[in-house]
């Protein structure tokens, strides 16, 4: 289905929360330097799948995860592999912007600090990350201002800069625009499209137009299963499965 090499993949993925199975035998592949959108009605398991890749479920005691998750050749759940290392290589941006209650500068510096980036390299990396996330011009004169004083859209771009600064290979985005106004959404969408030349991006979205605007590939999920996956254009205009067709036309969701 793809012409680019596969960066991230999951095969035979099953996830349970307690006794409830939320993901059923899922196989997905995310090609390198592409944006892949995960779409589907609420509760279909999109976010659960996304968070399985950077092992965000590790702290939920009642989550049980099966299957093989590969970042290129690396098994992400391999025994002895450090979860912090996984999360450094696979960055994440959340549904609601969640900057640290620290200054703008410190928000990005924190990840560098704990990951042992040498002190003298940090301010350059921070500047670049802010530029890469198209927020530099808005904040360059007030880097010491608390991040919580930024607008919602600025906060979300700061969170993207925070992820980008660590040079991850993959960025997972969990409905990053759902809490934003249309103008901020537009800015973030432009940013995502530009970021894909350096990163592999997986984005969960509820917004059909957004998926069509930014995603190269789209995966449609329903009730914990992948119904159909392929080129975004095909999924939206020529779906093989009737269910996919009904969903993308807005008949349910």
């Amino acid at each position: 289905m793809t012409n680019k090499p596969i960066k991230l993949s999951g095969s035979s993925v099953n996830v349970w929360f307690g006794s409830k199975q939320v993901l059923k035998n899922i196989n997905v592949e995310f090609p390198r330097n592409q944006v892949t959108a995960l779409i589907g009605p609420s509760g279909c398991g999109k976010s659960t799948l996304l968070r399985s890749f950077n092992r965000m479920h590790d702290l939920s005691p009642d989550a049980r995860i099966e299957g093989e998750f590969l970042l290129e050749q690396q098994n992400l759940y391999e025994k002895g592999l450090s979860v912090t290392e996984v999360r450094r290589r696979i960055g994440m941006v959340f549904q609601k912007a969640n900057p640290f209650p620290k200054s703008i500068y410190e928000n990005i510096n924190y990840g560098l600090k704990i990951n042992d980036v040498p002190k003298n390299e940090r301010s350059e990396i921070i500047e670049n990350a802010l530029k890469e996330s198209y927020i530099w011009d808005e904040v360059k004169d007030e880097l010491q201002k608390p991040a919580t004083r930024l607008s919602g859209g600025q906060q979300q771009r700061l969170c993207i800069a925070r992820a980008v600064a660590l040079r991850p290979e993959v960025i997972l985005m969990d409905e990053p625009c759902s809490a934003l106004d249309p103008l901020s959404t537009l800015k973030i969408e432009e940013l995502i499209v530009k970021l894909k030349k350096d990163y592999t991006i997986v984005i969960v979205t509820h917004n059909m137009q957004q998926a069509q605007r930014i995603a190269d590939k789209t995966v449609f999920m329903y009730l914990g299963e992948v119904i159909e996956a392929g080129d975004t254009h095909t999924i939206f205009h020529n779906p093989k499965n009737e269910l996919t067709g009904n969903y993308v036309k807005g008949h349910f969701g």
Partner: protein
């Protein structure tokens, strides 16, 4: 006629009970302030008692209470915060966690005099620490522990999961996310709870009765392994056990007022932290 009067009576009943409660508070404050204030002077808070406690000041009792409260904090704060972190950040819902929670609720209901007995059995006799400032401070530390845990856990619970995830997502370990993000965010809430708990400990008498408090120590800045004076116990002794009770009444009033001021100042500090924090949100 009835229709007009009934609501007034009904409303009046509630107002009357509220008025009674206010009345209690006013009587307490008015009596302590009006009769305690004349005893207050620089000499009263800065000198030793003289002439068999009938003259002089209460400096050793003030120092004793301050030191005692500090030991209480040193025991209960790290211990309590650590336990709250375990419960809110690490523990899963299993029988062990439920047992810990049940223990905390029970400990918070154990009468303070029983903590006094426990301190006597464990610290004074069992660990051979004798009747001393340390024994008494440890006892008050145990008494304060459940309150520190409960208020800290409440403060931690108010922090949304997304705050923790933000740190984890940039490669922080769970401990680093707690140390660098969760704790700084929860700090004002934790501080409020801790200061309120300490203000309660500062006024406690029953737990220190058998663990180290004494009526008169002529060494004002006593050592940790010695008996000590404390404001609440001093007030108790002056008002019930002194040979010349009527003669020392002004001193008792003065001591009561100083004790109330210490406790209220701690309370105001807590309210201030809470108020300042709620404004920042």
């Amino acid at each position: 006629m009835m229709r007009k009067i009934t609501p007034v009576i009904e409303w009046g009943t509630l107002l009357l009970s509220t008025g009674m409660v206010c009345f209690f508070m006013v009587v307490i404050l008015w009596d302590l302030i009006s009769k305690g204030a004349p005893s207050l002077s620089w000499e009263f808070v800065s000198t030793l008692p003289r002439a068999g406690m009938t003259k002089g000041g209460i400096l050793p009792a003030i120092i004793g209470t301050v030191l005692l409260t500090m030991i209480t904090a040193l025991v209960s704060v790290p211990f309590g915060i650590s336990c709250a972190i375990y419960l809110n950040e690490y523990a899963t819902d299993n029988w062990l966690t439920r047992t810990i929670r049940a223990s905390i609720r029970n400990l918070s209901g154990v009468p303070s005099i029983i903590y006094g007995l426990f301190g006597l059995a464990l610290f004074v006799q069992g660990l051979q620490m004798g009747t001393s400032m340390l024994s008494a401070g440890f006892t008050l530390g145990l008494l304060s522990l459940p309150y520190v845990i409960i208020t800290t856990e409440e403060a931690l619970r108010r922090i949304p999961a997304s705050t923790r995830e933000a740190a984890l997502a940039v490669g922080a370990t769970q401990f680093e996310s707690i140390r660098d993000v969760v704790m700084p965010t929860a700090l004002p809430g934790i501080l409020t709870g801790v200061v309120l708990t300490l203000s309660r400990a500062a006024g406690e008498t029953a737990p220190i009765l058998f663990t180290g408090v004494a009526f008169y120590i002529n060494n004002p800045a006593g050592f940790l392994n010695q008996e000590f004076m404390a404001l609440p116990y001093h007030l108790y002794m002056l008002s019930t056990q002194h040979q010349a009770i009527e003669q020392v009444r002004p001193l008792a009033y003065g001591t009561a007022l100083v004790l109330i001021i210490v406790v209220f100042l701690l309370n105001l500090t807590a309210f201030y932290i809470r108020y300042k924090h709620s404004k920042n949100d």
